[in-house]
Amino acid sequence: MTTELLIWLIPLPPVLAFFLIVLLTNKNKALSHTIAVGAALLSWLGSMIVFVQALGVEHLGEHPLGGEPINWLPLGESVDTYFKIGVLVDPLSAVTLFFVAWTVLMIFLYSVGYHNFGQPEGDHDHPGLPPHGATVEEHGHQRSSPVGKHVVPSIEPMYSRFFAFIGLFAFGMFVLVLSDNLLTLFVGWEIMGLCSYLLIGFWYAKPSARDAAIKAFITTRIGDVFMLLGIAYLYSRAGTLTFSEIFAEETLHTLATIPSGVLGLSAAGLIGLLLFIGTIGKSAQFPLHVWLPDAMEGPTPVSAMIHAATMVSAGVYMVIRMFPLISLDPTTMAVVAFIGAFTALFAATIAVAQNDIKRVLAYSTISQLGFMIAALGIGAYVAAVFHLVTHAFFKALLFLGSGSVIHGMEHGVLHTGNHKVDPQDMFNMGGLRRKMPITFWTFLIGGFALSGFPIITAGFWSKDEILADAFGHGHTAVFVTLAVAAFLTAFYTMRQITLTFLGEARTKEAEHAQETPWTMTLPLVILAFFAVTYGWVGIPEHFPALGGLVPNWFHEFVGGTLAEHPEAVEFSVWPLLTSLFVALGGLTFGWLVYRNVNSAAEDRLQIPVLKNKYYFDEIYDRVFVKPAYWFAETVIYKFMDQSVIDGILHIFGPVTDRLGSAIRNYFDLPVINRFFGDGSANVTYWFGGKLRAVQTGRIQQYLMLALVVFIGIGAALYFFLLA
């Protein structure tokens, strides 16, 4: 098994799991999750082997793993030219592969417990709705229910289907990460778009879930259309979509100098801009961010998958991959940096006013992605990749942790039987650190990593590097914006932790919360491990005290992806102080404010503008959605379809009918039937009637007739032959 073959095989187990579950094992829940988790394990194993091999290669950027591409589409230009596709493992895809494999495996394992495997089937559970609990007649640990039996969480009715879909999702991500050209990257991109639709709308009987799925799909589609335009334009100008060929010196130079004719941008600039719009959609940047918070309608592992491990990371990954092209045009870079920084701050302000535990994390994701995009916009290549990887780990951790919290809260809801209590509202929680200790500690680690707690969390190292790059290269506006956003990040994170875990339980349901099974807590622990330690592979050299102890492996390794190795920024104390201040300050401030807040009414930051996300959903609805509906209904449906098209069709009926009747009455009946049909019969009848007079039955007349004819023939013969 060569490394090249192994790389090709990495995406295979999850898609095989998808087909097997869909076609064969849908009814058998245990077999389905075994196939799925087994597939994730196989892909993880393959990825680790490839990663270790990649580590061993000198100058991986110049000699990437992957082998020869294969001929795929025959092109018509001349005989034997093909569009080639292949796999590529260079430093960027190696580190991406690492975190994708780990987070995917953790999420798969987590899903087994999240969907309550091993629990009985629900009382009135319905495929399409979240499970609602099963009544069991046993000695439970609570006798609070009046009748002596109590309700336990029930297994998800569509259990196998979930694993099939996340299998397909994992396949899409692996394809995207391992491809060596833009086309297969786009294929993986679109597969994940489909799966996000399928999974956000997993509980399809809920109208809010259906709407959220459509919203996600259409919003990302807008981005995808522009991305496809960019790919097409790139192909028409460069003649290739393979990364190594695009990033060749002459190609880049050509693209940078041809004017595109639009807005004064060069070809490279326009392509970069179009591709970036795809990322705006996929990674939920402003203005296409509206789908991501609503995507919380899906089950929590889906949120972790989409918003941490895979889909949104794919958007950033694509920009990182195309960095040599995008960085050619300063206008495009400015746009990228602006959107990234703006989104980071914008989303952070909204997160501060959210009460749903998952919504806070959603806006937090948008904000952190803004950080990465802004880093790319200012040219901080390595910092962006670093933050991408660390963010994947701690965001996945936070989402899975929140899922654990919600599970615990639902346990309490089933106990008390009060279904009006929202298990996701943070103001219904409190004091959960005692009831769910593992969840608490891992969530704390994740939250600190998100906030950038110094030294011991990975988020500190990556975020600090972005700020250092911004400061060091003189992008002051970006620096300040990101710093404020980082402060808000720490603030709302601590708000979240305080309201959820610290203090006392604010509701009965929170009192009856329970820790979740090992299939859910083990992934939390493993991800927490990475959230702590991963930062230490990227310690800058000139860091006080710690720098130089461990070489900055990450910078060396990932920096080798680019043709020109980026230089590490010069160390300055100011960005370091800034990040320490914003991190610690935000955390402290958040704890101070919220340790005494017990309900939403007391929360002074519940400003309506923030709570309603700056009314963007309403604006989009008014400006885009309602006119589209009006157009579809009135113009196309009522006018075009019913009046015009159906009108034309409705003419055919009467016209054909009249034509048929005319033919029948004016031609068929008189001519064919009467004239020819009856006419010939009548003529024959008349002739027969006349002729039969000959047959009198009197032989003498017969003889006379014969003689007449005989004489006639004789005379004729005589006169014509003999005379």
């Binding site: 039969r692 047959q695 009198t696 039955g697 003498q700 003689l707």
Partner: protein, 102 residues
């Protein structure tokens, strides 16, 4: 020294008279009488040709003998038929035996 033509014309005239009888007589037996005349005229023809051709060839006479036989047979059967019809339909008028009309 009777020329052949006399015999032939004689036979032709007898034939025509017989034909007239066949065509015009009402009684079926009378029709058969006419047929006899016609057959006899044919025999005269045959005999004349024998005599006025090669006398050594007996073909003419043989033919005439055969005609005798045939005529006898035909008269027998014909009269039997007429008698049978008379028994059935009680008439010998040829015009009344017309069941084969349309």
């Amino acid at each position: 020294m009777v020329p052949l033509s006399w015999y032939l014309i004689f036979a032709a005239a007898l034939f025509s008279i017989g034909l007239f009888g066949v065509l015009s007589r009402r009684n079926a037996v009378a029709i058969l009488l006419g047929i006899e005349l016609m057959l006899n005229s044919v025999n005269i023809n045959l005999a004349a040709f024998w005599r006025y051709g090669d006398v050594l060839q007996m073909t003419g006479q043989v033919f005439a003998i055969i005609v005798f036989a045939v005529a006898a047979a035909e008269v027998a059967v014909g009269l039997a038929l007429v008698i049978s019809v008379y028994r059935r339909r009680n008439t010998v008028v040829a015009d009344e035996i017309n069941m084969m009309k349309w």
